[in-house]
Structure formats: structure tokens, C-alpha cells
């Protein structure tokens, strides 16, 4: 089974994300990056499936040069190879542009299953995977909290507002996983060493047959006009518990006439 993971590499969680007022984009250059923990969960699912059913896991990432660190991490976890779409003209791509790039890269090789995070941990738009499935013409199985493959059939437990749905399709398919689906493994030393020798293929948008009318800032239908800070809610009273914190809250509630 050939599994492809769309793995986003994002500013490390220790970084407070800032937005560049000039470009209206997230500041990505010059700050530490990491494999999105949500993508690590998608990769973990792919690794478990191929460990059970055989096959290989390939990682596809669109991102700046700093994304390499996250790709190496994915390879160290156990992915066999990677594709890195690295092209400055892709900055400012909207969701559809991003999906076109990733779908074109996925089509470069054979695949049975594409796994993505239901949403990235930095922008949360959550629609790129659905766009990729539609572009590839394969079954979208979204918001999975469990995946099972049997022969050519794939079954997921799909998160719903009131519980979950058991949803099935034939391969090839695209699955998006919720972040709680698993606990991603940590790369071991052996994996980290092996990752250094694994192939990262680099493509530009042109290599994928995509022009500036479709991707990047120029091809984007969505354009960011302005970014600003909403008025901050001012902090109230802060006390340190010296053995009567609970009582003080009760008094506060009494003042509010809640009790």
C-alpha cells in the first residue's frame, strides 16, 4: 500500500506567531520550525497502516527552506521518502492554490491512500484536504478518529456533532485525522541517522505544471486586505491563593449574585 502524507511544517509551538503588516502573511522566515504535531499524527497513522499491511509512506510538504527540518523529522519517524515543493512564488497562496500544488505533487507517483491532518495547528482552515480529494477525484473520508483498511476497503470512525459515523469507501481515498487519533512516535537515533540518507525530491510550481495564474499570491482568489489586533479584554483582579482562594471566589460570586 502506497500512503502519502501531506505534512505541513509550521513555526515551532514555542514561537509566538506574528503577522507581517507589509505582506499580511504569517512571519515564517528566520524563526524555528517544526513538523506540525497534527501532521505527525497523520504520519503515525500511515506508518501503522504500512507496518500492518506493507507498503511505503511518502511525505509531501509545501513550504520554505526552513521546512526541511520538519521533513527530516518525518523521515526520521519512518517515512520512506519526501517531496518538498519549494518555490518563493508560492508565498501568498490561498487554500485552493495550496491544494492544487499538493494534488499535483501527489499525482507524481502511485498512491492508494492520502492522509492529512483535519486541520493544521497554525491556520486551522481545515479545507485544503477536502480540496485535494476533489482535485484527485478520490473519496474524501474526513475527521477520522479511527482508520481500518481491509483489502481494498477503508473504514473510518468519523467525528460527528453527536458522536461518530462509521464511514466506508474503496481505495484510493483521502483521510483526514483528528489530532487525538494517536500519540505520534518520537524518532529514534537509528531513524534520525537513516533519515539523513533518505531522498527529498524538490519541485517548483513549474515542475508541477502550475502557473502563476493558479497558485501563489497572484493566483489567489482570497487576498488579505488588512490585519489588526482586536481590542484586548482588560485583566481584572488577580490574587494569589493563601489558603482562602476558594472562599474569595465564593465571595466574588455572591457579589455577582450568582449564589
Amino acid at each position: 500500500m502506497n500512503v502519502i502524507i501531506c505534512a505541513k511544517v509550521i513555526p515551532a509551538s514555542s514561537v509566538i506567531i506574528e503577522i507581517d503588516p507589509a505582506t499580511k502573511c504569517m512571519v515564517r522566515k528566520g524563526i524555528p520550525h517544526e513538523l506540525d504535531p497534527a501532521a505527525a499524527s497523520a504520519l503515525e497513522e500511515g506508518l501503522r497502516l504500512t507496518e500492518k499491511h506493507g507498503g511505503e509512506v511518502k511525505v509531501v510538504t509545501m513550504g520554505i527552506n526552513d521546512a526541511t527540518i520538519g521533513i527530516r523529522n518525518a523521515l526520521a519517524m519512518g517515512a520512506t521518502s519526501a517531496i518538498h515543493i519549494l518555490d518563493d512564488t508560492l508565498a501568498g497562496s490561498d487554500t485552493l492554490g495550496t491544494a492544487k500544488v499538493l494534488a499535483a505533487a501527489i499525482k507524481k507517483g502511485p498512491f492508494d491512500l492520502v492522509i492529512c491532518a483535519a486541520e493544521s495547528s497554525d491556520s486551522y482552515s481545515g479545507i485544503v484536504p477536502g480540496q485535494i480529494a476533489q482535485l484527485l477525484g478520490i473519496a474524501p473520508l474526513t475527521f477520522a478518529k479511527d482508520i481500518a483498511v481491509e483489502g481494498n476497503k477503508i473504514t473510518i470512525k468519523r467525528q460527528s456533532e453527536s458522536g461518530y459515523d462509521v464511514v466506508e469507501a474503496e481505495l484510493p481515498a483521502l483521510v483526514t485525522v483528528t489530532s487525538g487519533i494517536n500519540e505520534p512516535r518520537y524518532p529514534q537515533l537509528k531513524g534520525i541517522m537513516a533519515a539523513k540518507k533518505k531522498e527529498i525530491k524538490k519541485y517548483t510550481a513549474g515542475d508541477l505544471g502550475l502557473g502563476p495564474d493558479q497558485v501563489g499570491g497572484a493566483g489567489a482568489r482570497e487576498k488579505v486586505l488588512s490585519v489588526g489586533r482586536p481590542p484586548a479584554r482588560s485583566a481584572g483582579k488577580i490574587i494569589t491563593d493563601e489558603g482562602d482562594g476558594g472562599k474569595q471566589i465564593a465571595e466574588f460570586l455572591a457579589e455577582l449574585k450568582v449564589i
Binding site: 481545515g126 476533489q134 469507501a169 487525538g180 487576498k223
Partner: protein
């Protein structure tokens, strides 16, 4: 002629969702509001949509829309959009809404803006306000697609305003293309929710990672019960499986605006703040004095939740008894 704005009407647990009615109310304020209602729905669903601003409802009660997830609806809505060319198509930021918006943006080669908090029409384009990065920024984006602009709207962004009117119903024939049967729903499992619903609760007691273990939620349950409130949780807590996903509050969970919000062991990540900072009164208990939750709280107690919360419960018992 008034500009045409469509709303995808969602039915969950045999009820038209509140977000559907909120979007319709906004659509009716901006232009001519029409709704698409696909699959089995309660008998009064069309009237409910009309009562919130829909002047026309595109309707099919065919079970194909329920049994094959979103692909049949993608085909149907794409056909309707190409025929009637609404300026804007609105979806809720729900599971189905996101799937539909994603697929339709490809079919129509149109853009889609997610997590929209408000919007306005500017000529052929639409300008959307997006609370970004967990609400630490408000962004304004414009979408200028060749055809219909797709927006995914956050819940509780608009007020649902009842109006008295009737709607024309246009029956829709489900598509016959076998490709729409690619994804089948084999079973729907309802996970019973304990205690009062988060939605509409006046008091919410929410727990974060600081609770350390699932069983520690019991003390929060006790507090919530004493205050007649509901239980909520952060993403980390639902991901850890301590409580069901339905209790998640935050950018990817529910947006709540109770009169009183008590945050226990919640640091206040931007994703969580996005879902609760509209609360009227916020009390936070956290051992870390630097926790961002204190910046939005009306009363912050720096301390151990396992000491402060039990003392609070004791105090409430005393006051109730006395």
C-alpha cells in the same frame, strides 16, 4: 435587484442548526436569502428557514443525502449554483460545511474563506472579517471569484432574527451519477452526553491540562452542578480522551458566551480563548501566574485547583445551607 445569498441548511439530530438560522438572518439583511435543504428533515424545517429570512428553499428529502455523506450534495449544489449564480454561498464551519465548501471551491474553481466572523459585499467581491490565530488578530480578506464566493461562517457570529414570512419551495432532483456513492455511511453512533448542554448554559466550568487526569473532572462536575452549569474542556483534554469531543470549547470546538465562565487549570492558549472570551464574567484558577488566561479574567486566582476548587465547593455548600 437585491443580491442573491444562499445558505446551506444543516440538520443535526433532527433540528435545523442554530448557525443555519444565524446565517439566514444575516443573508436576509444583506440581500435576498435562499436556503438549500437536502436529505431527511423535520416537517417544519422549511417553515423554520422561512421564519428566519429564506424567501426560497431548494429542497429534496431523498435519503441519498444522508446515506452517502456530502458527495451527493456537492453535485446538487454545484448544479444549482451554475444555474442561479448566487453572489455568495454560506456554510457553517461544521464537519459537513467544511467538506462541502472544500469540494465546491474546486468544482467551481472559486475561492473559499474559512472561519468568517462577518462579511460585507463590495461589488462582485465579498469582504470577510476573520478572527485569526485564535482571535489575537482580526483579519480582513477579500474574495473575488469568477462566480460564487464561498464563505465558512463561525457559529454565533450573527443573531438569529425571527421574521414572519413564507418561502417558495423548489423541489430538487438528486443526481444520478454513481460517483456520488463513493463514500457510504454504514452506521451513526450517538454518544450520550452527560449533564446540561454547553450551548445556552449560563454557567460553564471548564477544565484544562492542569487537571492532570480524567477522574479529576469529577470535582468540576460537582462545582458545575452546584452552580447549575455545564462542563467544558480544552482541546488538550478532549484529545487526551478525558471527556468527549462534544465538550470542547475553542476555535476548533464550540464558541460559548455564558454569564459566568470558570476556567480551572486552563493556561489560555489562543485557540481556547477564541471560544470563550465572549463570556460575560471569567474566573480563572491556575498555578502559573504567567498563564495568559489571567489576561482575560475578571478574577484570577493563582493557586492549586485541587485546593481552591474543593474549598469553593465547601463554601458554596455552607452558603446554600445557611
Amino acid at each position: 435587484m437585491a443580491v442573491l445569498i444562499w445558505v446551506y441548511a444543516e440538520v443535526i439530530e433532527e433540528k435545523v442548526t442554530p448557525t443555519t438560522l444565524e446565517m439566514l438572518s444575516k443573508a436576509a439583511e444583506v440581500g435576498t436569502a435562499e436556503a438549500i435543504l437536502l436529505g431527511p428533515a423535520p416537517g417544519d424545517a422549511v417553515q423554520t428557514l422561512a421564519n428566519h429570512g429564506a424567501s426560497k428553499v431548494y429542497r429534496s428529502d431523498d435519503p441519498v443525502f444522508r446515506d452517502y455523506l456530502t458527495l451527493p450534495a456537492v453535485e446538487t449544489i454545484a448544479g444549482l449554483i451554475q444555474k442561479y449564480r448566487p453572489a455568495v454561498m454560506l456554510f457553517a464551519s461544521s464537519y459537513a460545511g467544511r467538506d462541502l465548501a472544500a469540494a465546491l471551491s474546486v468544482v467551481l474553481d472559486s475561492g473559499a474563506i474559512t472561519d468568517v466572523g462577518d462579511f460585507a459585499l463590495k461589488g462582485s467581491s465579498v469582504e470577510a472579517t476573520i478572527p485569526a490565530l485564535g482571535g489575537s488578530y482580526l483579519n480582513v480578506s477579500t474574495l473575488d471569484s469568477p462566480g460564487t464566493n464561498i464563505l465558512l461562517v463561525r457559529q454565533k457570529s450573527f443573531e438569529a432574527i425571527p421574521r414572519n414570512q413564507t418561502a417558495i419551495v423548489e423541489e430538487v432532483v438528486p443526481p444520478s451519477d454513481p460517483a456520488i456513492h463513493k463514500v457510504r455511511v454504514a452506521e451513526r453512533v450517538t454518544v450520550q452526553q452527560e449533564g446540561p448542554q454547553l450551548e445556552g448554559a449560563n454557567v460553564i466550568v471548564a477544565g484544562g491540562r492542569g487537571l492532570k487526569a480524567a477522574e479529576h473532572f469529577d470535582v468540576l462536575r460537582q462545582l458545575a452542578e452546584m452552580l447549575g452549569g455545564a462542563i467544558g474542556a480544552t482541546r488538550a483534554v478532549v484529545d487526551a480522551g478525558w471527556v468527549p469531543y462534544s465538550l470542547q470549547i475553542g476555535q476548533t470546538g464550540k464558541t460559548v458566551k455564558p454569564k459566568l465562565y470558570i476556567a480551572c487549570g486552563i493556561s489560555g492558549a489562543v485557540q481556547h480563548l477564541a471560544g470563550m472570551k465572549g463570556s460575560k464574567m471569567i474566573i480563572a484558577i491556575n498555578k502559573d501566574p504567567e498563564a495568559p488566561i489571567f489576561q482575560v479574567s475578571d478574577l484570577g486566582v493563582v493557586g492549586d485547583i485541587f485546593k481552591v476548587v474543593p474549598q469553593l465547593i465547601e463554601e458554596l455548600k455552607k452558603r446554600k445551607g445557611g
